[in-house]
């Protein structure tokens, strides 16, 4: 089921949470809404769900205008960060709930409901626990129950709001892999919200990066990582260093020194972004020369912080951990890959 968000705006008591957002979600894809808090990603998710109404704009499920429909009518599955399981019901009853509350005409017989619920518990690897109560399960198990419960109604779209946010790191990693497997098996269109870019990069088919109520970029993990379209995206995804530079006659200058890389586009002040590992060490004048401020070994690389232009700017670069340059107190380098953005 494809979902189309068209020029949606949402205001809470005059506070604009979303400004004119449009997004096409393809059928069967796993897409992440990624951004810091306040970016509007949860608001967008809730608008798709029908838990909030847009101040302006429309939301389409397939060809149907879903803006008119109540949350019950949209037939979506929603998973909350804090599970929201029904505490007084067993696991089995939780998972069966969506089927049991259907109107008589579309309700399957009791035996069928039970069978389906058990099947789903099997899918989420919780067979045998159907008689337990939520308070008797761990966080990871509870979230799997929440997912099974959402899947039971055969939703058109599956929506997850920071589903692993309440779990500790190890469980989070396991569930990430597991969610991807489930998605590949069932093929539901899935939208999930996260502020963890690692999670988004690892899990999603596409990322939708948001900031302050707007969509900054939509694309595959590779394209968002390699070709970020804005300073925000460059800085938010992966690691980065930024320097204020000037473009002059096709060359990029930092202060009064050319760096030795060419810059296309407008003359004048600009912002240079590069990633710590996309650099090469050079000798000579046309380079970024810095004084080593700190040097730390992180796993298989050495992370060096350099003060450039006499402590005016600080950048990070990565060297192989046993590189001789790691001993030096001054290092000159050039970025191999970089991006220029207009000055703010």
């Amino acid at each position: 089921m494809e979902v189309r968000v068209e020029n949606v705006r949402k205001e809470f008591d005059r506070f604009p949470a979303l400004h004119d957002v449009s997004l096409d979600i393809r059928s069967g894809e796993l897409i992440a809404l990624l951004g810091p808090s306040g970016s509007g990603k949860t608001t967008l998710l809730r608008l798709i769900a029908g838990l909030e109404r847009p101040t302006a704009g429309k939301i389409f499920f397939g060809d149907e205008d879903a803006s008119e429909k109540s949350v019950q009518e949209r037939n979506i599955g929603f998973v909350f960060q804090h599970y929201a399981l029904f505490r007084h019901m067993t696991i089995l009853e939780n998972v069966s709930f969506g089927l049991k509350v259907r109107p008589r005409s579309s309700r399957p017989p009791a035996g069928e409901i039970r069978r389906r619920a058990l099947e789903l518990l099997d899918l989420v690897q919780l067979s045998g626990l159907e008689k337990r109560y939520p308070s008797q399960l761990s966080g990871g198990q509870r979230q799997r129950v929440a997912l099974a419960r959402a899947l039971a109604i055969e939703p058109r779209v599956l929506l997850l709001d920071e589903p692993f946010g309440a779990l500790d790191a190890q469980v989070r990693r396991e569930l990430r892999k597991w969610l991807r497997e489930i998605h590949d098996r069932t093929g539901h269109t899935t939208v999930f919200v996260t502020h963890d870019q690692e999670e988004a990069l690892e899990l999603a088919d596409r990322l939708c990066v948001m900031s302050q109520g707007r969509i900054e970029q939509v694309g595959s993990p590779d394209s968002v990582y390699d070709t970020p379209s804005s300073p925000f995206v460059f800085g938010f995804i992966g690691e980065s260093s930024e320097l204020p530079v000037t473009v002059e006659k096709g060359d990029i200058w930092l202060g009064d020194r050319p760096i030795g890389i060419a810059g296309s586009g407008a003359q004048g002040p600009a912002r240079l972004f590069f990633r710590p590992h996309d650099i090469e060490l050079v000798e000579g004048d046309a380079a970024l020369a810095g004084v080593v401020a700190t040097s730390r070994r992180v796993g298989g690389t050495r992370r060096v912080e350099l003060d450039i232009g006499g402590a005016a700017h600080r950048v990070e670069i990565d060297l192989p951990f046993d590189h001789p340059a790691g001993e030096r107190s001054q290092i000159a380098f050039r970025p191999k890959r970089w991006k220029l953005f207009p000055a703010a």
Binding site: E11, R53, A56, S67, E68, S70, V71, Q72
Partner: protein
């Protein structure tokens, strides 16, 4: 909100339709009006039925005056004693670990589960005819029953959990950190108590005192049993209200009752103010007794 043309037709997923909502509110308000507001109103309406003059006159009646004095006296003795008890008990319970603590806490709630009449009865049994203590004390000229001491004792019995119940969870929540810090800086036990503990618990203490006092002044059943209802001597305000009522002196009864009702209202107001403004400095069990 500017443009929500579609939204207005559909209700939010977590709210009832307005019609249902207002119906429930109406039923709730009617019930509360009937059971809470109406009786309160009736007290004042009946008291002023024969005019403000008659109202004021009945308050100056000698029996009414002595009842007021006695009530104030009893409260002035019972409340401070229960405060001391409450502070001691919560200090012992909150600051230390000892066996039987949970049992003690449960016991402290005992008067709440006992009928007020029984609370008075136990003192009659203890000091009345046929008991051991009664005649023995009488031989020293000490009268407990049918005299002020008995009333004070019965009042202490029914009101004694109030302060403790407020302070125990409060002090448990606050922990020992502040006191240990003070001690490590060289303060003595008493100094620690006065300068560190007391300021920390002052709002909870005030709250407990408020409730304790309201109950102490308004207690009826327990006091009725032990007082002997001797006019002008052992009738507290609630007892005098009953006496006036049984003698068909409606205005006098309701006039005195109206004073107690005013006390109740003041207690409610202060209690609410304390809950709103100092909610986090009160016990976790602030609501519900």
């Amino acid at each position: 909100m500017a443009a929500e043309p579609h939204a207005r037709r559909l209700s939010s997923p977590t709210n009832e339709p307005p019609a249902v909502r207002w119906l429930l509110i109406l039923i709730g308000l009617l019930f509360m009006g009937l059971f809470l507001v109406l009786p309160l109103y009736a007290v004042f309406a009946e008291a002023l039925k024969q005019g403000v003059g008659a109202y004021l006159q009945s308050l100056q009646n000698a029996d009414a005056q002595s009842a007021i004095r006695l009530t104030l006296l009893v409260a002035a003795i019972a409340v401070p004693l229960n405060v001391v008890f409450g502070i001691c008990a919560s200090w012992a319970i909150a600051k230390f670990e000892f066996k039987g603590k949970a049992f003690l806490i449960t016991l402290i709630d005992l008067p709440f589960s006992v009928s007020p009449v029984i609370s008075g009865l136990v003192y009659v049994l203890l000091f009345g005819t046929g008991s051991l203590l009664g005649p023995w004390l009488k031989s020293y000229g000490i009268e407990i029953l049918f005299a002020v001491p008995g009333i004070v004792l019965a009042t202490i019995f029914v009101t004694f959990p109030f302060v403790a119940r407020e302070l125990i969870p409060l002090m448990q929540d606050q922990g020992n950190g502040d006191e240990e810090a003070a001690l490590s800086l060289g303060a003595s036990g008493w100094q620690t108590f006065w300068r560190v503990t007391l300021p920390n618990i002052k709002w909870g203490l005030l709250y407990g005192v408020l409730l304790c006092n309201a109950r102490a002044m308004g207690e009826f059943g327990a006091v009725a049993v032990v007082s002997g209802k001797i006019r002008g001597q052992t009738t507290t305000m609630p007892l005098q209200v009953e006496m006036f009522y049984n003698e068909y002196q409606g205005t006098a009864a309701f006039a005195l009752a109206s004073l107690l009702a005013l006390l109740a209202l003041v207690t409610l107001v202060l209690k609410t103010v304390l809950e709103w403004r100092f909610g986090d400095e009160l016990a976790a069990t602030g609501r519900g007794h």
